[in-house]
Amino acid sequence: MAGILVLAKIENGVPSRSTLELLGAAHRLATGLQEPVCAGLLGQGDAGVLYSYGVEIVYRMDHPLLKEYQADLHLRALEQIAQAAEPRVMLLSGDSMGRDLAARLAFRLQAGIVTDVIDIDVQASEKAPRFMRPAYGGKAIAVMAPRVVPIVATLKPRTFDMAASVGEGHGREVPVEAPLDPGQARTRLVERVQEETTGVKLEDARVVVSGGRGLGGPDGFSLLVELARVLKGAVGASRAATDAGWVPSSMQVGQTGKTVSPDLYIAVGISGATQHVAGISGAKTIVAINTDPESSIFKVAHLGIVGDYKTILPPLSAKCRELMGG
């Protein structure tokens, strides 16, 4: 077994952002292990764009049953691809699909697994990869050393630097047979419902304004929506706010929810529990607005205002509107 196998996604002819993050990590492992980077590709995307990111072999499986995500079928496909590629390490994004698949894939491959990986290295003496991940809600960092081969790892989204293009690359494509039939699917997708408040995707937004329990109720979020609109950003929330039903669960930022890496993150009425902060470590500037000066959020923020959000947000939105002309 050798090589780093990345589960790639091509969107509109280019590798998705999470694919580039996986490839960035894969190349770091590949350099340390001196083994090639390969990719698994489901569907019809152009493999050529992967060669230009240093991928040497693309294992492709194309089948109509893979158009929509369904775990049983996708697992069958990935199992087959892994058997063809025989990688030492298999990398998946820790998005909703990767989180759904990784553990079961590891089980089927009799592999080890490390989830939520935030950093990697290779121990030179043993040529063995190691994976760093948060533990205890982000209060600690664990270094995980696999004892078996292969190892499946999910990478925390928006954490690794994206791979850079190497220009024209050369690789080869290996078709993998798809032993799929509809009877293998034991669950069925009935409907997919989108919930977005501002039109900007939370994980792609350059500005995120998040609210927590301190907003006191769903109405407080309208002030956040207005500020986000003016700053062309998105609205997020702490788990306390999603659990209360003030906003949909898909807006939760943090360990269980989304990882965001905006230029500006504004935390309003959020105490800064480590599980929340785990989702914003990539934010360049963090602003906290909170009535309690002792709140932990002020330990991670760059700029803080001790005050009631109701008195701060309206003038803040007004001032930004003036500047941005929105």
Partner: protein, 265 residues
């Protein structure tokens, strides 16, 4: 319908970071007499099970792998309204990874007979691996859907709301199935009443050892771990926060000026 809810007992994960210490020997959190709780999402899973039982009938069984102390987590679950509970405890299981724990849970479920619905938390409150549930499903040869916030009756099975990046998906599932449960406003754990706490304290909770479950010793315990915790450290963080003082208008003016300097707006 038999619903099995898998509960893990952990040190309260919401304790502030200042109280967090590492035991260098075991590379785990030091217990320091901190309060032990049911891992939060497992309580949401139990609440979902109890609501389902109230609507459609059924029998809720709690299962935990852990130290003898985990009995108190099971008692709390009984007080919330579960019908029965069992604890799988054995020094040989200690130090198991998710594969070992899932193996033990699977054997426990087989000992119970069967399960129509197996519910786990979407992630544990201490290590948040998100592994035990899916692997338990594989071990039991049943399908699995992760990150479910709600469940409704549908065509002889259920519609499961799966939270995803931009909203949610509705999955049609037919028992037997394993679901991993996320919190939302519909499954906020109930507080047990005093009389239910009293009643639960009198219930007997069987404990099963590895031998009781015929557990294969090579698949449990430290020796079977597939990825080892080599180091565990507390990241250092120095405060860098500049507090903006004054009346709201002044604070806002300063904030906007700083954000402009930083070129983020």
């Amino acid at each position: 319908m038999r619903i099995v809810v898998c509960l893990k007992q952990i040190i309260d994960p919401e304790l502030p970071a200042t109280q967090f210490r590492i035991d260098a020997e075991s590379k785990r959190q030091q217990s320091d007499n901190h309060p032990l709780v049911i891992s939060p999402y497992d309580e949401n899973a139990l609440e979902l099970a109890l609501k389902l039982k109230e609507q459609t009938g059924g029998h809720v069984t709690l299962l935990s792998v852990g130290q003898p102390s985990a009995v108190s987590a099971l008692r709390k679950g009984l007080a919330m309204g579960a019908d029965e509970a069992a604890l799988i405890t054995d020094p040989a299981i200690e130090g198991s990874d998710a594969f070992g724990v899932a193996t033990a849970l699977a054997r426990g479920i087989e000992k119970l007979g069967h399960a129509d619905l197996v519910l786990c938390g979407c992630e544990s409150g201490d290590w948040a691996d998100r592994i035990v549930g899916p692997i338990l499903a594989e071990t039991l040869h049943i399908p699995c859907v992760t990150f479910i916030a709600r469940l409704e009756k549908h065509n002889g099975g259920f519609l499961a709301h799966r939270v995803v990046e931009d909203g949610y998906e509705l999955w049609e599932v037919v028992p037997p199935v394993l679901l991993t449960i996320l919190s939302d406003e519909t499954n906020t754990p109930r507080y047990p009443k005093v009389k239910d706490i009293m009643a639960a304290s009198r219930k007997s909770i069987p404990t099963w050892s590895g031998a009781d479950l015929d557990l294969d010793a090579s698949r449990i315990g430290k020796a079977a771990v597939r990825a080892e915790v080599q180091e565990l450290t507390v990241p250092t963080q120095e405060s860098r926060c500049q507090l903006l003082e004054g009346e709201p208008e002044e604070q806002v003016a300063m904030l906007v000026a700083r954000l402009r300097e930083r070129k983020v707006i």
